[in-house]
């Protein structure tokens, strides 16, 4: 069981959260020409690191806020959690 410290609610079990994927992916800027490569990197290509991974989680059965979590993908150790608008 993962225990994730929601920045709004405190430590809660993973059962309250939904996973939102890689938190470092940025949507290409609006109202600007987007190349195929940029679009591919946004939609499909992922680094999928073995080790520290910044990811989005949705506290769907709690405060319903999106948060950013830095977690190790091998040991599942969670280093840091912040609200989704902040950088890790």
């Amino acid at each position: 069981m993962l225990y994730i410290k929601c920045p709004y609610c405190g430590l809660r079990s993973q059962n309250e959260f939904a996973y939102g994927g890689d938190g470092t992916v940025k949507r290409p800027t609006l109202n600007k020409e987007v190349s195929d490569k940029e679009w591919d990197n946004f939609v499909y290509n992922r680094k999928s690191p073995r080790g520290k991974h910044v990811e989005l989680w949705h506290h769907i059965s709690g405060c319903r806020q999106w948060i950013k979590v830095q977690r190790d993908t091998v040991t599942h150790e969670i280093f840091k959690t912040v609200s989704a608008d902040k950088e890790i």
Partner: protein, 418 residues
Amino acid sequence: MQKYSAFSLFKNALKGHKDWQVAWKDPTPKEEYDVVIIGGGGHGLATAYYLAKEHNITNVAIVEKGWIGGGNVGRNTTILRSNYMHDENGLFYEKGMELWRNMSQELNFNVMYSPRGIINLAHSDAQMNAYARRGNSMRLNGIDAILLGREEIKKLVPILDFSENVRFPIFGGLMQPSGGTARHDAVAWGYARQADSMGVDIIQHCEVTGFEVVNGKIKGIKTSRGNIKAKKVGLCVAGSTSVLAEMLNMTLPLETHLLQACVSEPIKPILDHVVTFGAGHFYCSQSDKGEMVMGGDLDGYNSYAQRGNLPTLQHVLTEGIAMLPFLSKLKMLRTWGGIMDMSMDGSPIIDKTHIEGLYLNCGWCYGGFKATPISGWTFAHTIAQDKVHDLNAGFNLNRFNTGHLIDEKGLGTKTWIS
């Protein structure tokens, strides 16, 4: 190579089993190979075997970080099937089914091939319609498919929950009679033994730490046991693909996720087929030892852990009990996890890359085991001829750029959603 037979077993039994040859050698890496395959799992071993057998390329090494058969080929639920709707998948996997049929004879190793039939249950009229469509698509590609009604399913698998007041009543199902199971370890060992006998070096406990690429051309690999020169290199490392891709400055349409499976204590024969639950993600078959072999969803977040988490197991087994209520009375014997290379459309990638002489075999998602022979067969062709075979032409890396996705389940890019 010593031939295995009833006679050789009898002869060696009389000698106290002291004269069996080793099944494959433990060579020191040579300085240079024509082809180096990274990853000594089912796909890597099959690739090396078909390179030697179909293309006469025998100066080949398989480089494996752990031991052969210790990764996903030893961590799956041993199911074989080709019940796909899209042509790219259907034709590819059906050629694979042909290879499965002759595998024990071809490898002189009993892979315990058991075409017991696979049944996908339907729990609504809409699902029956979807299965009728998939079944028709399968039959157009020459794959056996039968649409079964509730009463027909009841005759085949009476142990399922057919009570009237359940949340997901069984409306019927789609059956592929030629689907089934095979002994996973035997597949790895059979390919390894034959590949070794044809001159392939199987180098275990040898981790790849880097690549030598000069002017866009692969020259060799760096490993924990020294540098190895190679004219061509094939990647067959499933869940570790992104790790190697990073060494090559490639970012791939893959995420590595964890998939669990489990077996119950052994019981008397009760389930003759492979059966899948249609209102969630759960499947079950009974092994020859009598264990119920079960699996389902991913753990749901990026993971290289090779071990699972209990909430997912509980979720999967809740579905299992909805389908086969007697499972609740059984004790769990073992659970395990493997790391899956989840591609962004749910279909594999077998292709050349922008680096000359470097070939990619990945993106197997939940379904790598059944693909073992055909993956090796097409990947060997791609490496040997330096061009893709018709059967894996659709599984190119460029499809994510051009929009020619093969999204069998319509899941989109969120691979952790099930």
